[in-house]
Subunit: 415 residues, 3 copies
């Protein structure tokens, strides 16, 4: 041990370590999504959902390595700040041997890739919840592949890749729009094209289809909240104590306030404390603060989260009225609150324009809604999108996988 | 990248990062508590318990932001080192822009707050287990709110806030007393006032009420052990390699020894290896070492943990004899072993007086027992404390929430 | 705050913190193993498996503190680089007061111990899965104790303790052989000696025995993947940004490719997407890259993982043909892919010899297979190894523990 270690190298080490810890935290969010989705749906579709989630994660990571990363961070844009591409595979910057400092010394090239790769698969996973219990496995995997490989990175490049929206001043700190709404729009389109699950809407009205395991749903939500400290905290892109701890506080307060918002509204509407609403309330608060976690004050974060909690409950009721069947409330959590969070930056931060935020929200909405419409309809035409009625009734676990999730347990599969 | 970064700023970054990682670890303990409590109780009360745990966490964090933090770390005391208050809301120290170094450069103001906030909700969560399956949801939430907002911070200020017990030399490193006993006393009082669950004690003796999911209980214990590395490791209040790694070793050895202690005693008493006793044994070891994790040697940590494991088994049997019904063994884990751990500091560390430790234990006991008695009795008078007999028998999930935790599963709800 | 903090002390702090975070991540792998094993076996043996896993962890840690650590890192060898012993208990290096820099300043003595202790129990846990649902609890605990106390550390010393295989140039970065194969060989021997579970193989052929909870199995796999970032990332033995981020990328890509490998092969063989194969595929990819995570390029990591995914599916079918009953596929994941990963270093890294890797694989195979044969047969002779037929049919939970895992649930325990 000598005295000659430069202190900026040490800071580089500390920053890089935090980014890698954040990567791990975002990774475990995929277990959170899987648990939540499984918990809020029926036992007969459990294997199918777990299979989807493990597959998406793997397909997403590989796809992002092969082309997504270089579409999202193209270096240079080829088509007027709208699309750029840096080449196939992970390409270490020359002269750096692929391992040395990168991005202002905060972390390595490989850290950059792996942190972003964990984000990428998230967008597709969000879709998964809204189309659950009726979509064909292979069709969904094809959709995810295309969405993660092409749509998510191009959309992402507009802001985080220094594209046209970034140049315009649009601000989305950790992805209320770039991740959550991008997933949310596809969720909306997918749920709409697929139509509702059999039995959900009848002439008599809306018939709730209960999830089969509230402990799994709760485990999912706690893990998502847990991982969000990496999602938002890592988006500081360094371990800088001020901003990272600030982001921790706003993220936590917004999540907690989301719980309170969802609790007060749902309790007053239904006269019963509704666990699934409260769980979605915390996610609503988290999605809501994600765009502005570094620029919204702690006390305003309470307001952002509380409103997100009110919005998620209202939104779930609204989409149910429209008869758009979203088994886990993914559209309400990720799209509705993603939009809210993005606009909240314009409202609560004096440095950002509400109008620009609105332009960003609309641009992403148009691009993602149209893209997913085209992809979903093409897949529907080519391969079909929905399982057969018999399969849906007996469950996708038997139909698609010939396997039960809870072998030995007495379960009523007929609704 | 220049050479001019001061190395103390880099150390500040490393320390702050560790404190934030610890914060996340303490956060996930709340999932641990929820899983453990759910697993050790009956399926018919699952939604209720999950709802309580999500709510307490959120209420606890918001309450702590609004007033608890400034009661616990008042800066200056108003009433002779017994109570002080620094004002409502989170108040960034002036001149520091709320983001710069604080507390000897180890971490920021916001890191301090968020780490402490995660601790605060723990005390109320401990109570939750002991009063489970029969307490009214709203009454419990009111109790938690008051306990986290006022009692926990005032009690905490006596030692960690540099109050009278700290001045007297009382030592509680990470909270065997300040967190675990503070929760444990309220758990004891709550369980006593509520009375046992229907059917637990009959003329024929004690009728065990089995938990409905040992996997959930085990997940809970593993997550608690996992999070304890942040609870104890973060209580070093820096990333100083010596103390933090020392604390990791004592914490781990005590937990492992707690398992062995509970295993040997329960196996020899009942002639069967009892999983729930072994799970509580690891928690006993963790609570037991928490007060002295930085001052008790690794080999003595084995002794502390082993004795904690013996104590938790004896204590569970003892309280069952007294017909104080504690569905998850929270009183035995957190109160009995919290007292043991606090006294163990006086026994195994030559720097601390057993007498002073004893005075601390008794003072906290008096304050917390009386406070919770007053709060619980007031709530009982004003709103009632216990659900109706019919509701208890059919389960709080249906009674309080009109919802089942395991929709579709065939479950026997009648005991 | 003064300017006088040496920057190498700060680097020491950053490195040590990362090693402790890795320790926590390896710790939670034990919950991963427990969940996976429980999920892939029958409900009637759940308590038994959980009890085993909690116990092994505790026994493993204590044993490793008392003698394993000093067998594995003996300082000096007593018997020609084959066996050495540094004395009983954890012995802090003199003059360092047990808390100062150690091992080139990367981490403290206590960090070294606790990181290695978490690894040690893993080897025994691997065995647990292969012998599940029929081994006597006490006999298994005795086996684990001996294996962790003596066999694992001696085997480990050959490479990581600077023994004869290290001197020969054998390379195993994080333990494809030293941990996974060492566990895998004992798993093979144990499963062989015990014989298959009743009903698994009949004259009509192989009768699959389904696991009782695919959500638990999936939680297990995600947690194992999560913890592997500490297992592999921590094996860099510092927070050096280049190597650690490189290891993150190879580890992730191999895991994802393992999923794809298992998916393609199993889907094409059985015409159905098989969740348990896909789950084991990710573990296969992780075990496969573990030996060479720091020397195999990201694109080659995809190949290593994909082949591991193919291998795990083939291996499961192969051992089933041999009528060696491995309820969770532990032999295929840890032994088959452990061997593959170790050889892959010789294939994909020009710095290492395939022949030497092969010698290492064979040496560990001989030593571990013979050792476990001797231990298992001795235990069988002295105490018996397998539960009675009646107990196996009614389940080990009732037979060994007089307890049910899912009290209140309607479960079919007769196959």
């Amino acid at each position: 041990m000598t005295e000659s270690i430069p202190s900026n190298l040490v800071l580089f080490t500390a920053n890089n370590t935090w980014m890698l810890v954040s990567t791990i935290l975002v990774f475990i969010m995929h277990l959170g999504f899987a648990s939540l989705e499984v918990g809020l749906t029926r036992a007969k579709n459990t294997v199918n959902i777990l299979f989807k989630n493990v597959s998406i994660l793997s397909i997403g990571i590989i796809t992002y390595a092969l082309c997504g990363f270089n579409l999202m961070y193209p270096g240079e844009f080829s088509f007027g700040s709208f699309v750029g591409f840096g080449g196939f595979g992970i390409n270490q910057p020359e002269g750096a041997a692929g391992l040395v400092a990168y991005a202002d010394g905060a972390y390595t090239y490989f850290t950059d890739f792996i942190f972003q790769a964990m984000f990428a698969a998230t967008a597709a996973t969000i879709v998964s919840g809204a189309v659950a219990e009726r979509i064909k496995l292979s069709s969904f995997l094809i959709f995810s592949l295309i969405y993660v490989a092409i749509i998510y990175p191009i959309a992402g490049s507009w802001d985080w890749g220094k594209g046209w929206l970034d140049q315009m001043g649009f601000y989305d700190f950790a992805g209320s729009t770039l991740v959550h709404s991008v997933g949310g729009w596809a969720a909306l389109v997918g749920a709409y094209i697929l139509g509702p699950r059999i039995g959900k809407y009848s002439k008599k009205g809306i018939i709730p289809i209960m999830g089969h395991s509230m402990p799994l749903a709760s485990i999912g939500v706690f893990l998502l909240w847990f991982g969000w400290y990496g999602f938002n905290g890592g988006s500081v892109l360094s371990a800088d104590p001020g901003p990272v701890s600030f982001v921790f506080v706003t993220t936590t307060l917004s999540a907690a306030a989301g719980v309170m918002g969802a609790m007060t509204l749902s309790w007053s509407l239904s006269k019963k404390p509704d666990l699934s609403m409260v769980l979605n309330g915390s996610l609503a608060g988290l999605v809501g603060i994600t765009a502005g976690a570094d620029v919204i004050s702690p006390m305003n974060a309470l307001i952002v989260g509380y409103i997100a909690g009110l919005l998620v409950v209202s939104s779930v009721l609204f989409f149910d009225r429209l008869r758009i069947d979203d088994p886990v409330g993914a559209i309400s959590v990720h799209l509705t609150c993603g939009i809210w969070g993005t606009l909240a930056v314009g409202i609560f931060s004096s440095d950002h324009s509400l109008f620009t935020q609105f332009v960003g929200v609309m641009s992403y909405g148009l691009f993602c809604a149209i893209s997913s419409l085209v992809i979903f309809l093409s897949i529907k035409k080519l391969f079909g999108l929905r399982v057969s009625e018999e399969e849906e009734i007996s469950g996708l676990d038997l139909g698609e996988h010939d396997m039960e999730a809870y072998s030995g347990f007495q379960i009523f599969t007929v609704e």
